[in-house]
Symmetry: C2
Subunit: 118 residues, 2 copies
DNA sequence: TATATTTGCAAGCAAATGATTGCATATTAT
DNA sequence: ATAATATGCAATCATTTGCTTGCAAATATA
């Protein structure tokens, strides 16, 4: 269990995404997190370790408890990767929409063009 | 190989992200994609299958070639998931920045407060 | 038609993943 | 001091992943 360890890998697991959602607002201790899932505490512990290893969460010890705090800024890498494509496709959609509207509004547009073949 | 098959899982693999980047602008056929990587064509073929299965790419047969076209809109799920947290953390940063600036500008701000303990 | 090209499918494999159970350790409450 | 609580670590295990190689099918070219 010592392989690729990056943010994309980390958020690929639904349990880990749920954990992030659970601690996004405020730090939560390990057991409280574990109780919300129906897998063993150890399994959650491993997920926390993975999240921690790729910087997505900080752990603050407080007495015998450990509070997990989300480091949302570490999602930046993902955000940027997706955002570039998001921009690309929304840009295309906008262009398409504009094109369609323009076609529709042209008073004498030769509709036959729609059927231009091959 | 019949398990979880979602977009998050799909983009977890760096090769698959690279493939998406390669076909984001225009469709590319399978062999051309495969040539860009130093793994076997079969390995790429499997990645394409995975991407296709979760809707991230369409395949259009053209003669004996198959062109892979990116379906960037399918990244929406990821975009939305990340965007909510992006908003959260940038919001916090903005608030923090504002707070700091306000502190600095207050003529008679009691600086001791910085040291408020525990 | 014979041959080359493009691609998929299947079998086999090592490594990674996600989970479990049992035991150890530190801290807090009795 | 003793018991209870919170948590980590290690061993183990079934699946999944990513890859490879070999073979088959469809299409294009000589």
């Amino acid at each position: 269990m010592e392989a690729r360890r990056d943010v994309f890998q980390a958020i690929a697991d639904p349990t880990r995404r749920a954990i992030i959602g659970m601690i996004a607002q405020q730090p939560v201790n390990v057991n409280t997190i574990a109780e919300k899932f129906d897998v063993s505490r150890q399994a959650i512990s491993l997920h926390l370790k993975i999240l921690s290893e790729c910087g997505l969460l900080n752990i603050q010890q407080q007495g015998r408890e450990r509070f997990c705090e989300a480091r949302l800024d570490k999602l930046n890498e993902v955000h940027e990767w997706v955002a570039q494509y998001h921009k690309l496709w929304t840009g295309r959609m906008a262009a398409l929409k504009q094109f369609v509207e323009q076609e529709e509004l042209l008073p004498k547009s030769p509709k036959k063009h729609k059927k231009t073949k091959k």
